[in-house]
């Protein structure tokens, strides 16, 4: 459980930095667009996540709605990162 919380905090910190907001304002129910993050900002967030966790995120800016990596909300991104981290550990 500790590790899961850690992932969540780290992802929120990355997104908050991109949004230039305090981490308290980045909650799982929000969409990236609610936080003022545009398409370039999304690509930077993904890059930040990959560097931070040492994972490769399957994300193509042309097909954001397609399965592979759900970016529909902060919570969805956290869940996806948890899956990728677990897969990396396995």
């Amino acid at each position: 459980m500790q590790q899961i919380d850690d992932i969540s905090e780290r992802v929120i910190a990355i997104i908050a930095e991109q949004a230039m907001l305090p981490v308290e304002e980045v909650t799982p129910d929000l969409q990236l667009s609610d936080l003022g993050i545009d398409s370039l900002g999304i690509v930077e967030c993904i890059f930040g996540i990959e560097e931070n966790f040492g994972i490769t995120v399957p994300f193509n800016a042309n097909t954001p709605d397609q399965p592979g990596f759900d970016i529909s909300s902060v919570g969805a991104i956290i869940a996806e990162v948890e899956k990728l981290v677990a897969r990396k550990a396995a």
Binding site: D38, S39, L40, V43, I46, F47, T56, F59, N60, A61, N62, T63
Partner: protein
């Protein structure tokens, strides 16, 4: 006002090593996109590209010449030689003489310049840890190398420079060449673009942006998933119309108009307003109404954003006339040659004017409800074309549109 003719065309690109092969491939709807063969491919997430295959530099250049030529300059010279021979003005290695030499120049477009040379030499100093690089690294890598090599090859002593506006470089270059002749600063200009960025570093940089397709390039198709990089060159001879007529040259087409604009909005996201203004400016420059356009060679990169926005911009400029004309993206066949792409795409325009064949948009599987265009899906089509519009819209929001007219005599 002086008019401008195209009297020569040459190319080496993923579809062919000359214009005849390229036309044949475009008419057959060939796809030159395939597995990449560059070094350290296992470290790339992008595994496909449109490479120029079967190119043997030794067949074109002596060993001493080659030490000064990055791949992008080699491509430009191969394309330029074909164009110059066709124009009848000179032959490979033969300099123009006297006054004509000083009234002739080169304007080429490139985005990456000697990117392969940069890549190789960064490896040498950073990866291999060597403290010495080849003495000719700078003359090989500089963006104006291909321009200078063409000027030296044919003794062109007039206005010459390189234009770099990312994916619109070649259209900007050709527009500049057009202006130089029309304005009286030159009588003959070699112009077009060259690019060779399919090296590890060149691909890796594009990969970072997350806009590259994994399967293939599907412009305007609902299931499009991004762009695919290509490489190569196309070079043309532009010439003052009276000069060309006086020497009885075969006139391939007339360059009728050129329009430019800047979005001034976003460094990568396209905009409807900027491209619309460039297309309108080109039509106005050509003195043509929107309904004179018979075929549009689209920028059509295959990214979600470009294709949707380009369709909207076309609608804004051409209105209902858009429903009556074909709009195709040949990037589906030869990939995105970045700074050279609009030069290779101008060949599709010439082919339409000269041979009455409209190049298809291949890999098209499904219409996008947001894109109401006749994209000439998957198969080339016959049609009478008198006026072609050729679009190029670059990152940075820098747009350049050329208009060609069929030449049927004065």
């Amino acid at each position: 006002m002086r008019r401008v003719a195209i009297t020569g065309a040459g190319t080496i690109n993923p579809l062919g090593h000359d214009v005849v092969q390229t036309y044949a491939a475009m008419q057959a709807g060939d796809c030159a996109i395939g597995p990449l063969t560059c070094r350290d491919l296992d470290r790339l997430s992008v595994q496909i590209g449109a490479e120029v295959r079967g190119f043997d530099p030794d067949a074109h250049f002596s060993r001493s010449a080659r030490t000064l030529l990055d791949r992008f300059s080699q491509f430009a010279l191969v394309a330029g030689r074909e164009a110059m021979v066709q124009s009848g003005l000179s032959a490979p290695g033969l300099a123009l003489s006297g006054d004509m030499a000083c009234r002739a120049g080169v304007v080429l477009g490139t985005a990456g310049g000697g990117n392969t040379t940069v890549d190789e030499n960064y490896r040498t100093v950073y990866e291999a840890g060597k403290n010495r690089v080849h003495p000719f690294v700078v003359p090989r890598l500089m963006h104006n190398a291909a321009t200078a090599q063409l000027a030296m090859e044919f003794g062109l002593k007039g206005p010459s420079y390189t234009v770099s506006t990312a994916c619109a470089s070649a259209n900007h270059a050709m527009g500049q060449a057009f202006h130089l002749i029309r304005g009286g600063a030159a009588d003959v200009m070699m112009t077009g673009g060259s690019e060779a960025m399919l090296c590890f570093g060149g691909i890796k940089a594009w990969e970072g942006l997350r806009v590259m397709a994994q399967d293939t390039c599907r412009p305007f198709s609902r299931d499009r998933s991004g762009m695919v990089q290509g490489e190569g060159s196309a070079v043309f001879v532009f010439e003052d119309m009276d000069h060309a007529l006086a020497r009885g040259a075969d006139i391939l087409a007339e360059v009728a108009g050129f329009g430019m604009s800047s979005d001034a909005s976003d460094i990568v996201m396209p905009d409807i307003d900027g491209p619309s203004r460039a297309m309108r400016a080109a039509l106005q420059d050509a003195g043509l109404p929107p309904d004179a356009v018979d075929y549009v060679n689209a920028h059509g990169t295959g990214t979600a954003a470009n294709d949707r926005v380009e369709a909207q911009a076309l609608r804004r400029v051409l209105g209902d006339h858009l429903d009556r004309i074909p709009v195709s993206s040949t990037k589906s066949m030869h990939g995105h040659l970045i700074g050279a792409t609009s030069a290779v795409e101008l060949l599709a325009g010439l082919m339409a004017l000269r041979e009455g064949v409209i190049a298809p948009t291949i890999n098209f599987s499904e219409a996008d409800p947001e894109i109401a265009l006749d994209v000439v899906p998957n198969q080339a089509r016959r049609g009478q074309v008198d006026v072609v519009m050729s679009n190029a819209f670059a990152f940075g929001g820098l747009n350049a549109v050329l208009i060609l007219k069929r030449w049927s005599g004065l």
